[in-house]
């Protein structure tokens, strides 16, 4: 016999779907089927069942091989590394629950670490723009119930957030949007003809890296002022039509992704996109929302926010919190060789950072806490495998619109495995002893 767990929350992307159904064996040890999830989400659940999964911490030996050690030994190694370091970097946090993040921050405070999450290479520029100009936004249910103008700018939900359009933004029939897709106009701004762009009513194929100009031209068009014949590769007439389409809606939203945050102009693009949104509120109701990637990168920003006052790139090494992206941000700290220990949790910098930074990680004393084997575990001295958050342990996570959702445990982790939080508590208690704190 099997049993079905309902209302399961998917721990993959910032869409944080909470309607999954997962079939588990009667003894709660095996996960057999996943319903309602997208391909990526399904794989995340099924991957926890992999037979070749690493279930005990492994310490790198002189010859490059791994030696299995106990969790206690791993906690001792991690605590020693952090306590000895002058300026350790504690990076990641985006694919684990808020409870683990909270314990991690206690450790960081005691050892004077730099704490950073994956926003550093993702929506960090968005956060900087929000600090410049604010952000008018809403929850995803508002989109579902009210929005009749949807813009996807520099993002491709069809691949990166596969259920976003069906759950919230394009297809659902909401309270004031009873005709579903037919009640909405969809505009996509992307230099490529992506699978999302193919679905759009209007696709503005912007010249690569010219988003700022186009956003600015939108604002000019809103005021019916003069425009050059072509801006960012788009004919002025087409820009005016798109701007009028936005104006004529009752409730609009701009979703944006890496295409604007990590291309030329970075946070300035977002500044302009938010200014455009604010501007549109003079004519109708408009919101804007970043398409957050990791399922709980938003939560990491929130927890850092209420505990230290800054959403990412927080430097605690002076005994109080400092925030200065470019100075206290991960890539810069690694590139300048400023940190003397690397602690990675719930993310994979090895796969995403510039190679120079990955080489720097390889040179440093390093610990990687991750259920998977990743390029980061490949360059780390200690790999601590843990239970899958959101599959083998519950806990809190924040959706891309900041809505908190309690994740569900659906299956037991392999015997003897610890969760992120449990392992971090061991480390914290040991660091407390080492630092002589009460």
């Amino acid at each position: 016999m099997t049993k079905t767990v309902t209302d399961v929350v998917c721990p993959f992307c910032g869409t944080l779907c909470d309607d999954l159904e997962v079939v588990v064996s009667d003894d709660g040890k095996q996960l057999t089927e996943v319903y309602n999830a997208c391909v990526i989400g399904t794989e995340k659940f099924l991957h926890s069942q992999a037979k070749d999964r690493v279930t005990r911490p492994r310490l790198r030996q002189e010859d490059g091989s791994w030696k299995e050690i106990s969790y206690d030994e791993a906690a001792e190694y991690t605590a020693q590394m952090l306590a000895k370091a002058k300026k350790p970097l504690m990076y990641g946090w985006s694919s684990t629950n808020c409870e683990a993040q909270s314990v991690g921050h206690e450790i960081a405070e005691m050892v004077g670490a730099c704490v950073d999450n994956t926003a550093a290479v993702c929506h960090g520029p968005t956060l900087i723009a929000v600090q410049d100009i604010g952000i008018p936004s809403c929850t995803l249910g508002e989109i579902k119930n009210r929005a009749d103008r949807i813009l996807f700018w520099g993002c491709n939900p069809a691949h990166a957030h596969p259920r976003h359009m069906s759950r919230y933004s394009i297809y659902p029939r909401g309270f004031f949007t009873g005709k579903g897709q037919k009640s909405r106009k969809m505009i996509v701004v992307d230099p490529r003809v992506t699978d999302t762009a193919k679905l759009a009513d209007v696709h503005l194929q912007v010249e690569q890296g010219r988003d700022y100009e186009l956003l600015n031209a939108f604002r000019v068009a809103l005021n019916n002022e003069w425009l050059p014949d072509v801006v960012a590769g788009i004919p002025a007439q087409k820009i005016r039509e798109a701007a009028d389409l936005c104006k004529s809606g009752r409730f609009g939203i701009i979703f944006f992704g890496m295409g604007v945050t990590q291309t030329l102009s970075k946070n300035h693009n977002i500044d302009e996109a938010i200014a455009l949104t604010k501007h549109l509120n003079e004519f109708t109701k408009f919101s804007i929302m970043p398409m957050r990637g990791h399922y709980n990168v938003t939560g990491s920003g929130e927890v850092l926010g209420w505990q230290f006052g800054f959403p990412y790139s927080v430097d605690l090494s002076r005994g109080f919190a400092r925030y200065n992206p470019g100075d206290t941000s991960t890539i810069d700290l690694l590139a300048r060789g400023e940190v003397d220990a690397m602690f990675t949790i719930a993310s994979d910098p090895g796969a995403h950072f510039p190679i120079s930074c990955v080489k720097q990680i390889a040179k440093l004393p390093s610990v990687c806490i991750d259920p998977h084997q990743t390029p980061t575990t490949g360059v780390s001295k200690l790999h601590v495998p843990v239970a899958f958050a959101g599959v083998e342990v519950g806990g809190n996570a924040y959706r891309m619109d900041n809505v908190p959702i309690d994740m569900r445990k659906v299956v037991d982790p392999p015997a003897g495995m610890l969760t992120d939080e449990e392992f971090l508590i061991k480390v914290r208690d040991r660091v407390k002893q080492l630092k002589g704190a009460a």
Partner: protein, 571 residues
């Protein structure tokens, strides 16, 4: 638990009518006891020449939750020059108008506050609110979920279905672990979802075809149907606009004819919050003036209403409210950064920084209005001191507000310091007021009054044996004349001793213990109501973006040390 006896202090306890008499206060097992009930091992605190009061009770502040955190995250500048280092068990803490959660707990405790209510919890984000509450040390906290723009409430009240409204309110209080029924710009915030607003109590809400007046009256009735500890708590329509005092009077009048029905000793049916923002005359910023007298003339007579002041502290601060349209209005006015969140089926919120400059006439008039309200109050048990933290100023400025209220000299000095002093005097009543709030009245306005209004009078806000041992000793002698008003501010900034549930948490103005905080919530039981449960199920299936099971899964493990107040409305 340690026993204490606080000896020879001047005790101010409105609950027992003690007006500064020398008395001893004894603490045992977290409770206040008669002074012969402690053993000889009790630690003696010498309070000779000092003031002893119950722990203060904050009735309205924005201290935990999504909009507070938006403020923290989007204002790195608010942390400048504020950070305190880690010290033993005391975590590092920073921020001025929107302090980190740790700092929030520490700063309240240092001033002698032991209970605080988060004033607006968007139900969908209740989990976030409780996570922040968990990280706010020492003080007991509760949170008010917002109901004034809720689709269920509007649909039920359109048909005048009070019983269904009450059943829904009880369900939501339970799901969110909330404390009271809060209204923010009723109807207006729903209108804001379309970029509109409701500026009077009779403006119809788009689509829902109901007026703010009907929502307000309906929720008063639902509140009394349930017999909740606190009354309906309202931030009325038309906040912050010149001439809005008429809307405020219209709102207050809606409470006429209602009587409180509860077992908690509460007398009011409406709490009107941050009244300063709602007491404006004139019809533009040039002829903007105080209408505090008109408001207080009404409030003084209306026994079934309580208010809090919302005093402006003349600081750079961060405004935040579930009044979405107001924040948009404000950003158009001051052009500072604007954050907004519309919350599906429930509410919205906005955040905009604001600088209350003593050089700006309007800000100075606002300052005067806040103080006038308290100085005109005939019943100090119905008018409470707040700054609507952080909207009119940070709560850490309470000692300064107390200074202004207790010293006409301090007020005079501030009026003289205004750039447009003459214009401010002409537009307000403050210059002619010589009333000085006494320590007894202060204890009413910050302890006994708010505790009674919240229905917590048997638990906190007083020093009667059997109550929680929340006790504060201030280094302030009621016998000695105050030579410099700044002495008042200094004494109330850093309490000499603070006990929270019998644990000494502050000594000489420094935090010494993280206490044992609780989350207070109301568990209201109602008759089974299949219709409401069916409506809830349907709304979640069709319109919410989370499932009902996940919405209800807030769960006890996230609510730290919960303390449920039971209400039985099944009869």
């Amino acid at each position: 638990m340690a026993e204490y006896i606080i000896k020879n202090g001047h005790v101010f306890d409105p609950l027992q009518g003690i007006k500064g008499d020398k008395a001893d206060v004894a603490i045992k097992d977290g409770k206040i006891v008669k002074d012969n009930q402690v053993s000889s091992n009790a630690k003696t605190i010498d309070a000779k020449g000092k003031t002893v009061m119950a722990g203060a009770v904050e009735i309205h502040a924005h201290i935990a939750g999504p909009k507070v955190n938006v403020g923290r995250i989007y204002r790195p500048e608010d942390k400048l020059f504020t950070y305190q280092r880690t010290k033993g068990n005391v975590r590092m803490a920073g921020g001025f108008s929107i302090p980190t959660t740790f700092k929030t707990g520490y700063e309240y405790a240092k001033m002698g506050y032991t209970t605080a209510m988060e004033a607006a919890m968007p139900p969908l984000f209740s989990r976030h609110v409780h996570e922040e509450i968990r990280d706010t040390p020492i003080i007991d906290e509760g949170a008010y979920p917002v109901f004034g723009n809720n689709w269920f409430v509007m649909e039920y009240l359109k048909n005048n279905e009070i019983e269904n409204t009450a059943a829904y309110c009880a369900w939501l209080l339970r799901a969110t672990k909330g404390y009271a029924i809060k209204l923010v710009n009723p109807g207006g915030t729903e209108a804001w979802a379309w970029g509109l607003n409701c500026l009077s109590v009779n403006d119809p809400v788009p689509y829902f075809d109901i007026t703010p007046a009907e929502i307000i009256k309906g929720l008063i009735e639902a509140n009394e149907y349930l017999g909740l500890p606190h009354s309906m708590h309202i931030h009325p329509n038309n906040l912050g606009n010149p001439g809005n005092y008429t809307t405020t009077l219209d709102t207050l009048k809606l409470a006429e004819g209602y009587k409180a029905k509860n077992k908690f000793g509460r007398d009011q049916v409406m709490h009107l919050t941050h009244t300063q923002f709602h007491s404006y005359g004139g019809d533009n910023w040039a002829n903007f003036e105080s209408k505090s007298k008109e408001i207080m003339d009404y409030v003084n007579k209306a026994k079934n209403v309580t208010i809090d002041t919302g005093c402006v502290t003349l600081d750079e601060t961060t405004t935040m409210t579930a009044d979405g349209p107001f924040e948009h209005h404000l950003t158009e006015l001051n052009h500072l950064k604007w954050a907004n969140v519309d919350v599906e089926l429930e509410t919205a919120a906005g955040v905009v920084p604001y600088i209350y400059s003593p050089d700006i006439k309007v800000c100075a008039i606002q300052w005067a209005i806040g103080l006038e309200l308290a100085l005109m109050a005939k019943d100090a048990m119905r008018c409470f001191i707040t700054t609507d933290h952080p909207n009119a100023g940070p709560f850490t400025r309470y000692p300064r507000v107390i200074k202004w209220l207790m010293s006409a000299k301090a007020r005079e000095a501030q009026i003289k310091a205004f750039k447009n002093s003459d214009k401010v005097v002409a537009a307000t009543h403050i210059a002619g007021m010589d009333r000085e709030i006494s320590l007894y009245e202060l204890a009413q306005m910050t302890r006994a009054g708010p505790a009674k209004s919240l229905g917590l009078a048997s638990m906190c806000g007083g020093l009667k044996p059997g109550m929680d041992a929340d006790v504060v000793v201030y280094d302030f002698s009621p016998d000695k004349p105050v030579t410099n008003p700044d002495q008042i501010e200094a004494a109330f900034s850093k309490a000499a001793h603070v006990f929270k549930s019998g644990v000494e948490v502050v000594t000489n103005g420094e935090v010494v213990n993280n206490g044992n905080k609780r989350t207070i919530w109301v568990n209201a039981k109602v008759k089974e109501n299949p219709q409401v449960m069916r409506d809830i199920k349907e709304k979640f299936l069709k319109y919410y973006s989370v499932s009902q099971a996940n919405y209800e899964a807030l769960g006890h493990h996230i609510v730290p040390n919960p303390y449920a107040i039971e209400v039985d409305a099944t009869q």
